[in-house]
Symmetry: D2
Subunit: 345 residues, 4 copies
C-alpha cells in the first residue's frame, strides 16, 4: 500500500520514515513538508540514509492523492484540519497525528486550543486511534486521530480500572515525565541542551492541551465526567514517557486483585506488557519500540492505585501507534513492521 507523510520534517515524520523503511507492506511514496520543502531528508536526519536524497515536496493535494492512498499527517494542530478534509474527499484514508480530530466537541477544541475548528463535521467520524481500546472502530475508519503521547500512556494505565468501575470519586491524578523529543524539533530555550540537561522541570501544570483528550476518553469509560489533574515534567532524556497515574479505588478491590485485573484486560494485546507485582516499568526498556509496559500497585494504607506506564513517545506515543492503526485498517497483523524490541541498555 502506498502511503504519504504530510509534514514529514518533524520528529514524528522522521520516526514514520524509520518505521516504514522496514515495513513489509507499506511503501512510502509521498513526502511533503512546509518550511523544509526543497531540502533533502539527509540534510535533516543523518540516520535516514536510505532516504538521504529524497526531497521534501511542497504539499499539493492532487499530487498527494495521486501518489498515495493513505496519508499520515504530521502537521501541527490547526494545520491538519485544513488538509485532512481534502484528502478524505479524494478518497484517501487519513491517519492524523495532530490534535485536530481527537476531541468530539468543537467547543472544547476551541477552548483548549484557542482557535475555532474549521472542519467540525469530521469530528463525529474520526476514530481515536488507540488500538487496545478502539480496535473495532479503527478497522472500519477512514479518519484516525492518533492520541497524544501523554494520553496514550495515561489511558493505557487507567483503562482497566475505570472500565471496570473500580475507582471512587470522579477525579484521577496523572503525573507524567516526558523526554525532550516530545517538545518537537523546534528550538526553544527550555529544550536548549544546557538548560534542561541533568534537570527536571514541570511545565503547563493543570493547563496542558492533552487534558481534555484524557478527560473525554476516561469519561467514556465510566459513563460520566472525569477530571484529570495533570502535571507534565521535562526529563533529561530524548525519548520516553513515564506516566504515574493515581486513582482512589473502591475499597472492595484488593491489592492481590489488581495484577489480575490488568492481566485480564490486556490479554491478547501484544503491545501492552503488564509487569509482575513488585516490578516497575522504565522508559529505556521500550525505547525505540511500540510497547507499553505497565506497573501496578495498590497502596493498601491509603486506598489508592498507583499505575505507572512507560512508552516511547515517538513510537507508541505517535508514529508507531499510527502504523499500528494503518495495519488494522488494512486488515493485516497489527504488529507488521512494529516488532522491534526496545534498545536497552
Amino acid at each position: 500500500m502506498k502511503v504519504g507523510i504530510i509534514g514529514a520534517s518533524g520528529y514524528t515524520g522522521a520516526e514514520l520514515m524509520r518505521i516504514l523503511h522496514l515495513h513489509p507492506r507499506l511503501e512510502l511514496s509521498y513526502v511533503a513538508a512546509k518550511t523544509q520543502a526543497g531540502k533533502k531528508v539527509g540534510e535533516l536526519y543523518p540516520h535516514l540514509h536510505p532516504y538521504r536524497d529524497l526531497v521534501y515536496e511542497k504539499f499539493d493535494p492532487e499530487i498527494a492523492l495521486e501518489k498515495a492512498e493513505l496519508h499520515f499527517i504530521c502537521l501541527p494542530h490547526g494545520e491538519s484540519m485544513e488538509v485532512a478534509p481534502t484528502l478524505l474527499k479524494g478518497n484517501a484514508k487519513v491517519i492524523d497525528l495532530s490534535a485536530d480530530f481527537r476531541l468530539s466537541s468543537a467547543e472544547v477544541y476551541e477552548e483548549w486550543y484557542g482557535i475555532a475548528h474549521s472542519a467540525p463535521d469530521y469530528l463525529g467520524e474520526a476514530v481515536y486511534g488507540i488500538p487496545e481500546l478502539k480496535r473495532g472502530e479503527i478497522e472500519k475508519a477512514r479518519l484516525i486521530a492518533v492520541p497524544g503521547c501523554y494520553p496514550t500512556a495515561s489511558l493505557l494505565a487507567l483503562a482497566p480500572l475505570l472500565s471496570n468501575g473500580c475507582i471512587e470519586g470522579n477525579q484521577v491524578i496523572v503525573d507524567a515525565k516526558s523526554g525532550v523529543s516530545g517538545a518537537g524539533r523546534g528550538l526553544t530555550l527550555d529544550t536548549h541542551f544546557p538548560q534542561c540537561e541533568a534537570s527536571v522541570k514541570p511545565y503547563g501544570v493543570a493547563q496542558h492541551r492533552h487534558i481534555p483528550e484524557m478527560e473525554q476518553y476516561l469519561g467514556e469509560m465510566v459513563g460520566s465526567p472525569i477530571g484529570v489533574v495533570f502535571t507534565p515534567h521535562l526529563i533529561p532524556m530524548s525519548r520516553g514517557i513515564l506516566a504515574s497515574a493515581y486513582a482512589r479505588v473502591d475499597g472492595r478491590l484488593k491489592p492481590e486483585d489488581l495484577y489480575e485485573l490488568y492481566k485480564d484486560f490486556y490479554q491478547n494485546k501484544l503491545f501492552v506488557v503488564v509487569l509482575q507485582e513488585g516490578e516497575y516499568p522504565q522508559t529505556k526498556a521500550v525505547c525505540g519500540s511500540n510497547y507499553c509496559h505497565l506497573g501496578v500497585k495498590l497502596d493498601p494504607r491509603n486506598g489508592w492505585a498507583i499505575i505507572t506506564s512507560a512508552i516511547d513517545n515517538l513510537v507508541k506515543g505517535a508514529s508507531g501507534q499510527a502504523v499500528q492503526c494503518a495495519n488494522i485498517m488494512a486488515g493485516w497483523r497489527e504488529e507488521e513492521g512494529l516488532e522491534e524490541l526496545g534498545i536497552f541498555p
Copy 2:
C-alpha cells in the same frame, strides 16, 4: 568550632567536606569511615584535593570526643543509633543524617526499617532538623535528626497549605523525582550507568521509608493523621529532587491566594524561594546550593493544589541542611558557608 564527620566516605560525607572547606567558622578536625578506613580522601574523591592526603580513620569514640565538639553522623540507619548516644554522653552535639532519630515512635521505626530501635530514649529529645519549620527547637537542641531528602522537598512544598488548614480530606499525594546520587555510593544494577541513563523508573512505590517521616510531620501540622501516597522515581541526573505534591484544597482557597499564602509563609526564610505564578522550579537552578525553589499552582477545574519543589538532594536534602542546623545551634547566621548559588546551566 571543631567538627567531625563519622561515616565520611559516602556522598553526604563528601558533600559535608566540600561545604566545610569554605565554611568560615566550622573546622573539620575528625573524619571517620568504616569500610574505607585507612584510605585517603583523594583516592575516593578527586574534587576534594585540599583534603587529598587526609586519611579516613576507624571510628573511636574517645578520639572523636577529644577532637571535635560537634559531630555529623553520615552512617546508614541502624548504625547511627549505636554511635550517637556515646557521643551525646560525652557532651558532644550530634547532627545525624541517617533516619535513626527522625521518627518519634520506636514502633513505627521498627515497622518501616525492620529492626528494633536500640536507643529509643533519645527519640523524644531529637529535633527534626528542618530550620524553616523547626528553628526554635533547633536552637536549643543537642541531637538533630536531619530530614531525608524527599521529606525536605515535600514538607517545604506542603507546609503552608497544611499549617493553614487549607486542605480537604486527610491524604496528600507526592510524586517525587530524584537524581541517582540519592541512592548513595554503593553499587547496584539500578544505578549502573547504562541501566538508568536516559530513562525514568519508579521504585519503592507506596513503600519508601521516607513515608512515615512525612506522615509524622504533616500530621503534626494539621493536628491529625495524614496519609501520604508516595511514589519516588529515579531520574537520569546525579543531583536534584523535584517533588510534585498534590493536595485537594478547601473550596474557599482561590488560585490568586495561593502565591500569597506561600510568600507569607516563607518570608524571611532565606533558603526558600517562592516563584512567581506561572514559573516552575527546576532542579538545575539549585544544583550545588542550599536553596529550595517552590512553584505553586491551583487547578481551578478540579480543586487541587499542585506544589512543585526543587532542591539539591545532597545539599538542602542532606549536608547543607545539616550545616544550616549547625549554624543555628551555634547562634550564627543561618547561611554561613551556604551562600553559593546553583551551578546553572
Copy 3:
C-alpha cells in the same frame, strides 16, 4: 539455522537476543550463562519480553552441540578459549565475541592479557570478523573472532588511507570516545551513574587491550609495523563509539581526494556510510543500528588526515557485526536482520 549464545547474560548476549528476535533465518535454540544460570531472561532484561521466561542454562558442551550448529560466544576473554575448541571439534561453527582469537600471536596475547593462551593452535585459522575488510575469509571460516568495538571503529576509519599507502611514518593516533555500556554489565565505581554522568574521563591511556589488535590489522594493511597511540574515554551515554583517527598523510594526497578515496573504498559496503565533506558523524545517528558513519577531513595546514567514525558499540561493535558474519558464513544477504536504522533523535 539454529544458533546458541554462550555467556548470554551480558550486554552483548542481550543485544544478540534483541537482533535474533527479528532475524528471519537464525533461530535461537540454546542460551547459556555462568553466574546467572538458572535465572530467567526477564529478570535481567525487561526489553526482551518475548524471551521473558527463557531460563539461562549452565553451559554443557554436549547439549550445546545438540541444540545448535552455530554458537556465539559472549564470554570474557580467557574463558572463551576454553569453550571454542570443544564446539569446533563437535563440528559447530563458532563466532567468538571475546578477544581470545583476535591476535595471531599467542605471545602478544599473553603480553597484553596477562595469561597464557590455552588454544594457540586455533589462532591461525580464526578469521577476524570485520566483513568490510575480510569478507572472503569470513565466507569460508568456521571460527570467527569478532573485533573489539574500538578496533571496528578505528580500522574502518583508517583502512582506506593505510591500504592505499597514503600515510607518512609508521604511527597513527586514535582518540576514542565510548558509551558506558562498552564497560559491560559488571558494577564498578567508574560506571556508577553519579560518578560518570555529565562527565568525560580518559582511562587505560596507551595501555588498552584493543591496541595490539589495531596494530596487527593496520600493520597487515601497510605490510609493516604500525604503532597506535590510543586513548579511550568514557562518555556519558550508554551506547556509541566515536573514534577520531589522526594520520600524517603523504603530501601528494589533496584534501579533495580524500572523500573520493573513502567513497571508492566503501562502495558496495552497505553498512559504511561516508559522509559528504563538511559533515561529521554522530553516535546518535547509528544508535541501535549496524551502520558505521565516517567523516573525512584533511587539515591542509598541517598535513594530517582526521577521520571520525561512529558506530553503536553493541551492534556494529559487537553483536550486529557477529550476526553480519553469520549471514556471510551462511551465504545469505549480509544485512539479513540488521536493517534497522538508528534511533534518532
Copy 4:
C-alpha cells in the same frame, strides 16, 4: 572595587554574576546587555535570585565608566573591539572574554574571524589572561584578553613540555571534548537537547577559531612556529572540557620524568592539580570550580606524551579565569572568591 559586566545576559556573564555574588572584594555595580536589555536577570536565570530584580541596561559608555572602574566584556567577537577602546580611554580597566584581543596579529585575526580588526592598536598591549603562564604581565595590565576555553585547557596541558623543549617536530594534536554550554545560550539545532543528548559529534575539524590562539602561545613557548591539529567534539554534558593533547617527545624524556616535570612546573600554582601517575582527570571533579586537573602519560612504545586536561569551560575556561586575572591586577590573593571545589558527584 566596583565592576561591570557588558554583555551580561549570556552564559559567561551569568557565571560572572554567580562568582561575584560571593566575591569579598568585587562589587557588581553595572550590568549591560544588548538584545536582553530591559529584562530582569530573574527572567533569564533562575539560579541568580539575589539579582532577580536587577535589570539589564542598554550599554552606555558614560554610565559604564561612572559606575565601575573595571569591566568584564562578555560580548561576541567583533563587538568587543568596538567597546573596549572607549572604556580604556575612560581609564577603566578591561577584562575581555571575547577573542578580539587574544591574537597579536590583526592579519591572523582577519583570516580566522573573517572581519577586519577595528582596534589593532590595542593588540600589542593586551595581555593574554592565563595566570599560570602570564602572571607577571597580568599584574601590570589594563587590558586582558581571557583565553578561549579550549586554549586554556590545551595550553595548561602542553606548557610544561613545550617550555622545556621536550617535543620533537613542530606539531601537536589536540582532541578536545566540550560540554554544550561552550556553544553559548543561542539556540541551534546542534544544541537542541534531543539532537545532542546521549551522543558525541566532532565539529569544526581543523577549522576552529581557537586554533590560531593555541598556535601563537605554543609557538611563543618554543620560539618557533607550532602547528596544532585540532578537533573539538560536543559531549552530552552541560559543563566541562577534557582536552587530550598528543606530542611526540624527545627520546631522552623518560616516562618517570614526566610527572616530575609537570609537578615542578605547576608547583605553587593553586588552580592546577597534577594527578598522580595512573590517575586521569574527569570533568565532573572540576565542575563549578576554577581548577584544572592534569593527567600525564608517556606512551613508551611509541614515544608520545598524552596529556589530558579537565576544566569547567565556564569557570577556568572563562569567567573564573577572568576573576582570577582581576584579583591579580588588584594585587589580591589570586584565589579570592574562587575557592569553591567541584560539585561532585
